[in-house]
């Protein structure tokens, strides 16, 4: 592996990892606040990319312009699902929660398959294959945009959680439901809001993929799995952990794809998953589990 290819692979890995980071932040945020693993998480990314497809075919809207649409529609749908369904199983046995979310995931895939068919779809925009070369590194324009957009959104979400009143309320609930309730925070509203935000940024990840990514209704599952690995690596509920974990998994996967071939790269994620579970189940940023 020559240095050029090495650096090129790192750049490609970071570009892939940017979207992973975004999706994983959504998952980790939801886990941190609601203490529930969103097993339907990848489906919200899939919905995001289909919103872009739908807006593109009907209104000829550029995929990047459909991002606000994806935020409103899919974030709203997420909030509704939280309020109508998940809210009612928050205190149930974890198995019930998982079965419910598997049901939601199955339903969403089914609905998209019903309306858009199981055929692969794609969007064709003029800039889809455009490339710029910077310091000898080739960068695809859509992926470059996706990367910087992911970074920007992650950063804004971080600032939002850190400094705004609502953000502080969300963090308070994730630290202690009971204490937050006693401080007058409307915990149920925060749950709904958090689930909405988590699914909305995941849908944005989908819309960002739209310009140069084929879409099928079951594509979300692969992203769910990657997000699972990332949040376990970066400690469940840890924002920065999910962000860095996403970039790490992106780079590792791209290197694995280089050596093993693109289809088998998931094996690399799986090996990482096994290693974390065996040797550091609390993740890179967690204290040792007791």
């Amino acid at each position: 592996m020559s240095p050029e290819i090495f650096y090129q692979t790192i750049v490609n890995g970071l570009f892939t990892g940017g979207i992973y980071a975004l999706v994983s932040i959504g998952l980790t945020l939801i886990y941190g606040v609601l203490i529930i693993v969103n097993f339907a998480h990848g489906e919200f990314l899939m919905l995001g990319i289909y919103v872009a497809f739908w807006a593109y075919t009907i209104f000829e809207l550029d995929p990047y312009l459909s991002i606000p649409l994806a935020v409103v529609l899919i974030g709203g749908l997420g909030a509704l699902i939280q309020r109508g369904l998940i809210q009612r199983v928050l205190d149930a046995h974890p198995l019930n929660q998982i079965v419910l979310l598997v049901g939601v995931s199955t339903l969403l895939i089914g609905l998209v398959q019903f309306f858009f068919s199981a055929e692969p779809r794609s969007i064709h925009v003029p800039y889809e294959t455009e490339v710029i070369t910077l310091m000898g590194l080739r960068m695809s324009i859509p992926r470059l945009i996706a990367f910087f957009a992911s970074m920007l959104i992650s950063l804004s979400l971080y600032v939002f959680l850190r400094y705004t009143r609502t953000g502080k309320a969300i963090r308070a609930v994730s630290q202690s439901r009971e204490a937050a309730k006693l401080m007058g925070i409307n915990v149920n509203y925060i749950y709904m809001l958090t689930f909405g935000i988590g699914t909305a940024i995941t849908a944005v990840g989908g819309a960002l993929l739209a310009p140069n990514h084929r879409m099928i209704p079951t594509m979300g599952q692969a992203y769910s799995v990657i997000a699972f690995v990332v949040v376990v690596l970066g400690t469940m509920g840890n924002f920065v952990g999910a962000f860095l974990g996403g970039l790490i998994i992106g780079v590792v996967e791209t290197f694995a794809g280089f050596f093993l071939g693109g289809d088998v790269k998931i094996i690399a994620s799986m090996l990482i998953f096994i290693l974390i579970l065996l040797f550091r189940p609390s993740g890179l940023f967690g204290r040792k589990q007791t």
Binding site: A92, P94, N96, I98, L100, G103, Q289
Partner: protein, 351 residues
Amino acid sequence: MSADVSNKITRNPRKSLWHSLFSTWDRTQITASFILVGLMAISPLFVDSPYFMGIIILAALYAFIGISWNIIAGFTGQLLIAHIIFLALGGYTTIVLLNTYRVSPWVGIFVGGLVAASAGIIIALITLRYGLKLDYFALFTIALLVALRTLFLKWEFVGGAVGMYLRLAKPSTAKMIFDSKPPYLYIVLALLTLGIVIQYLIYNSKMGKYFMAIREDEAAASALGVNTSRYKTLSVIIGATLAGIGGGFYVMYVTFIDPTGLFNLGVNVEIVMAGPIIGGLGSLSGPILGAFVNKPIAELIRGFLAEERSGITLIVYGLFLILSIMFMPRGLAGVFHSLYLKIKRPSKEEA
């Protein structure tokens, strides 16, 4: 009136047949299960159509697989979502042994059970240590399913993406290939009977009580001296073995296996999860009741709706899971249990 009957029974020290069959809810569930098995056993007398026989055979198989999942998820409360992995491993083992090594499926499906059990042990060793978050187990099995699908798609020895077909051969009992449905029915009913008995024995054993203690509160069970890692692993091994055997029979019956068909979360919902969830997870009769709702509905959808538009099957199953959890968390068995209590002790309810 029913109150009188039950009073008489409790006063009478000599147990009647009726009493021994229906005296407790657990016994009632077992009796009901065997009545269903008996009805299926005589079904060839009045069902001619191979199509309907096929539905009965697969319903019985779904019930058996439901039992295997019920032991892990229902009794022990472990979040093993992608249970279909074991089914697929058992199926692949059986067909590879038969096609490539000419090993009779009568042996092969049990080897399939062993392979599935070994996979269960490996998964348990990685994810079921005490103190690891419960969710990790679910996350891990789903990730494993996706990884195995990728692996099997690339693995030419087991047919890659094309999958494996049973070599067409003359009907032969030694190869478990028959030209009519009833022999398959009796094999699967033997499996189902085995499943019902094993499930009942576990339910009433000390081990079963440990399983349920772990489900209710693992920390408390551990504090009381239950080696929770060991019992969680045991429940996974038992469930995986049964599912592997079921997978072996499945592939002999449908004569075909491929990675996208079985390493598939949607199919997992249909074959593994829907039945026990609808029927009542954790109960003795749930997987069996559920399978007899699940399979006919699946066929109805296939027959009448899915032709029109794809995706309907997934929509219906998604709704099944959601509605069951929201409105019937203890499933049909839970509904029947309440009915049973009402019939049995109306006087106590009033008091």
